[in-house]
């Protein structure tokens, strides 16, 4: 979330913002981007896949807790659908105007919302089927062909944008996070969640090696996919320049993108288990980061407007350089920490009222 905030503050305040890595948008790297700007965008690639993956994990943990306390399956399904709908509403009312996009924009919250609604029912399928469907989708989505849906009819165009083909070409039918393959990332998270509930909190050290191995093998596969420059690359590697190696399609996420980002997520999680085992989560900085992590949706919704600092459709009064943007970013994080802390206190006082946020 902290990395994601950096991506958005640069979008709101810098003249050149890297982005749009897509076979439907920027198939080549912008040569005006300096390596530092390129990498400052590249590191934020971890955010969305981790966000969606952990939504799947947290869904499994939450469903298990609800079943344990005696909630019925229909009650749980309804709860998940309500949460999914709420995310769709937040996308329309809060997120789209922050990005100066039309209300119909299908962004990351919308794809999580839609995926939650689908998983509210699909979660009842056996775990091996969810795992197989997720992996097959993640490894094969580049073969999806939606040409049966014409692009010159509004509803059909929008459907294609929402299902698989992101794009910002026909106002207001904008989409950057189509349901496929993002739902499959959530499905993988769900599968991991079903395994995590069998492990006691004191046994998290058992997870370090599996997470690390998964992460390292994903990164090795990423290198292989980029080297062969065929399957799994929605944007081909143009040269042996390191920046071209790392210029990978995010919209939609190519297999290369997913191997890199989910591999990184696994390595982060391995590190996380070490931190938990050594009880470092109470140390100052980690405790502060933990505060953001305990209110992810609240942070997401508030950080956009905290950093935007202006009304929708209003251009920035000035552009900031990298140092100024970084100063704004750090200041914003401090403000958001206070907001998140206050929100968590409120949520503790009114758990029922704020249960969906």
């Amino acid at each position: 979330m902290i990395l994601m905030a950096w991506d958005h503050v640069t979008l709101f305040w810098m003249q050149i913002h890297a982005g749009g890595e897509s076979p439907y948008m920027y198939t080549t790297r912008n040569p005006e981007l300096t390596p530092i700007l390129f990498f400052s965008r590249f590191i934020t690639h971890w955010c969305a896949p981790t966000f969606v993956f952990l939504s799947g994990v947290s869904l499994a943990l939450s469903v298990n807790n609800r079943l344990k306390r005696g909630d019925t399956q229909p009650e749980i399904t309804l709860h998940i659908i309500k949460r999914g709908l709420l995310l769709l509403i937040f996308e329309v009312l809060i997120v789209s105007p922050a990005f100066d996009f039309p209300r119909l924009y299908f962004g990351v919250l919308a794809t999580i919302g839609a995926s939650l609604i689908i998983l509210s029912l699909a979660r009842r399928l056996p775990t091996p089927i969810i795992l197989a469907a997720s992996l097959i989708t993640l490894l094969n989505h580049q073969y999806i062909n939606l040409e049966a849906l014409p692009m010159d009819i509004a509803w059909s165009h929008y459907l294609r944008r929402i299902i698989y083909e992101p794009g910002l070409t026909w106002h207001p039918y904008f989409s950057l996070y189509p349901i496929i393959p993002w739902i499959a990332i959530m499905g993988l998270g769900w599968v991991l969640g079903t395994q995590l509930i069998t492990i006691d909190g004191t046994e998290t050290r058992k997870l370090t090696i599996p997470f690390l191995l998964s992460g390292v093998s994903s990164i090795i596969l990423f290198i292989a996919v980029r080297y062969f420059n065929g399957y799994g690359n929605l944007i081909p590697r143009w040269s042996n320049n390191i920046l071209d190696w790392l210029y990978i399609s995010k919209y939609p996420p190519s297999t290369a993108f997913l191997l890199w980002t989910l591999g990184g997520t696994c390595i982060f999680m391995a590190t996380g288990t070490l931190i938990t085992n050594r009880n470092w989560t109470n140390k100052n900085i980690l405790a502060a980061i933990h505060t953001y992590g305990r209110a992810p949706l609240f942070f997401y919704l508030t950080h956009l407007w905290t950093y935007k600092l202006r009304l929708p459709k209003v251009p920035p009064p000035l552009f900031l350089n990298l140092t100024q943007t970084f100063a704004l970013y750090i200041t914003g994080l401090a403000v958001l920490w206070l907001f998140s802390k206050r929100y968590l206190e409120l949520k503790k006082a009114h758990p029922r009222f704020l249960q969906y946020i």
Binding site: T27, P128, Q195, T198
Partner: protein, 207 residues
Amino acid sequence: MKENYLPGLNTRQLIITLLIVAITTGSNLWTHRNDIPLGQARFSDYGFSIQYPRLYEYHSWGRPDGSTGPNEFGGAVQFKKYWEGTWNNVMIMWDLEPSPPDLEAKLDEFYVSMDNSGCHIDDKYELKTSEKDGYQMLQQTYTFTEETFSTGGTRFIATTGIWCQPYQSLHSNRLYTFTYITFLENTSTQQVNETFQHYLNKLNTQT
């Protein structure tokens, strides 16, 4: 062990699942082995083919001497895209040659034709010799100013490769002039050479 209310996954199920995933992905890879990658398009005509980003605009025109075309005898095609300050332009020109010509002289002719069309060459970098599909190719990177471009006086950097190879269907030789052009600002010679090579690798003249 904590209480688990959700369906689990044992080792046997995991292995079978991974096997199904591997078979499905492998079949897809095999079935689609000759597909053009998503977002790319293939141009195939006049005796050659090239893969290029689908969003690029395509233009073609006839031989520089004003005779008809484009056709197998000669012509040019261009794939270009201007987007938010970036400019990518790939141009392929071809012409018949009764016998393999002096490539350096042909490259000079190309520069003269550029100058005549309002593109003033500012700097030329080292002339290199390399190969395209086994045929000797002369390659040079240069900068030029385009006076007629809409903004006026815009500076570009380009790499041009020129080579001659037999053209079986007309029992003759074909001279190819392959050029990649982009804005000079913030572009290094290394970048322009790499992109030139990338597009050149996508050109198939053996069709």
